[in-house]
Symmetry: C2
Subunit: 339 residues, 2 copies
Amino acid sequence: VTVAELGERELVARIRRRLDAEALAAPTLVIGNGDDAAVVASKRNRQIVLTVDAQVEGVHFERRFSTLEDIGARAVAVNVSDLAAMGATPRWLLLSLVLPASCFVDEVERLVGGVASEARVYGASVVGGNVTSSPGPTIVDITAVGDVRPRRALPRGGGRPGDLLYVSGTVGGAAAGLEMLQAGDRREPISACVARYRRPIARVRLGRAMSDAKAARAAMDLSDGLADAAAQLSEASGCGLELEAGSIPIDAEARDWWNGRQRDPLEAALAGGDDYELLFAVPRNSGGRLRHVAQRVATPGLTRIGRLTKDRGAWLLRGDGRRDPLPRGYEHFREGEGD
Amino acid sequence: VTVAELGERELVARIRRRLDAEALAAPTLVIGNGDDAAVVASKRNRQIVLTVDAQVEGVHFERRFSTLEDIGARAVAVNVSDLAAMGATPRWLLLSLVLPASCFVDEVERLVGGVASEARVYGASVVGGNVTSSPGPTIVDITAVGDVRPRRALPRGGGRPGDLLYVSGTVGGAAAGLEMLQAGDRREPISACVARYRRPIARVRLGRAMSDAKAARAAMDLSDGLADAAAQLSEASGCGLELEAGSIPIDAEARDWWNGRQRDPLEAALAGGDDYELLFAVPRNSGGRLRHVAQRVATPGLTRIGRLTKDRGAWLLRGDGRRDPLPRGYEHFREGEGD
């Protein structure tokens, strides 16, 4: 059955049943799905954090590389990652679906199932949305709403010269995973890099712990790669930056993949997007606070990779003392692919 | 210059400048455009109201019928109308743009200008958003966030048998205006119906006044037409309904338009969408409260058009005593056009 055959009302009713069945019952939800708008009760003394991100078929995802559940889950994770980068707690999601009329209803239900189960992972609830037909590709546009204690949000531009740069987890895995899929590489058991590309993990607990502990002054997620995030954070902070090439925590499997293809793993890992790790600017005297965070949030771990500088350039420090300009990451419209 | 030639970063910078120049400076905005997410401060003791709606080129709008400023403004108004239907006050907007790479930058700026100026009309601020490329049509997806006093939101399902149904303003104007455009009718000065289709007005002050005065138990906007809204409100309320054919406030110019084409103005006005007036279910003893609202909000006025019934049918009462089943409105995917 296609969505054109089923019609909007019944489609919306099925989506709603799927969300009600899978999503958390939101204790904060006053009026939910199916009304003109959703009404939610925010906690006292919290600021509201708002973000939106659209995933377009053929631009941000391909049906041959990901299941529909993956696509729905990923659309949630990339939005929740933006909240995590602010130190916020995800609370509510709005799901705006743009669908070709030829789309099958069971496909939509699987995609929505991925949205609902991923929302549950982060303790967020899908409280509303919209469905519309389009002559173009399938688009999953999600608005994520969270909250944060006043004056605890982690902006991009909060860094100061001398702050140390820390990145969570490892980098390059998702980009290598996408390359494996594009190359038709079908290793079994499935590569951790591929899993990482398909199902990124938003670092909500880490972002919140850094905010709670006042350990960081600025933060940003790595949606467009580490080089891009570092450059954007430093520019927004009115600083330059130095990254130490030898310190970048490149994913081990990704390193092997690029080494096997005569490519520089460092360059590929710096440019590769989709990791959704977090980058933090941490004042130099924050060692105790960082240890406190590490005790609260054991994974994914934090690695010191460089620092913000007064000088406005963006540099990569090599082990041999050379200093190369830091390459920039992916930009929409201009290049063909990425996020 | 196309967006492909300009690139994402410079495009986003231009959009941001346009929003900063035209939109209200939001006193509630803590961290704004350009960060991972926007941080806003909600008023004390308010519930948050969330809604999203996508406008797709070729489905919800046509470049030959509306200017780009109209398209941007309309995308704001239809979302703000959903907040108005809850009795909420609009506060913040997120603008998610999906653009073909061949789109011209000055076109995007005009569209964003329409978004910004319409946001200002309602006292809302565009605090964030997203831009992405797509091989498909232009899509303007807006998330509107408002607030409302606790227990004052007006749900669809709050009506009770015996409640009187009131509609704001007149109905059918926007549908007739769209037909005039489709028919190539180029009357000068421009038809009020066409203006209404291009630039709907969200009834924010009326919705809020009805909520403040506790004059209504349920409300809904007329995005898909009066017949559809009445049926949905009564179903959500577990009621049936009767509309009095002679009471429906059909737009005078629309009536002339349909009369001139041998079409029944009542049927056309009931089915016609895009008016964005509000429908209210009002308890029978609320006369004093309604008068209070009418004193506070002089336009667009309210007309009593029928009532909710215990019997679950949806009926249209004719002047001659006949009772016809109420026709339903537009449904996405199944039919070719509408909202």
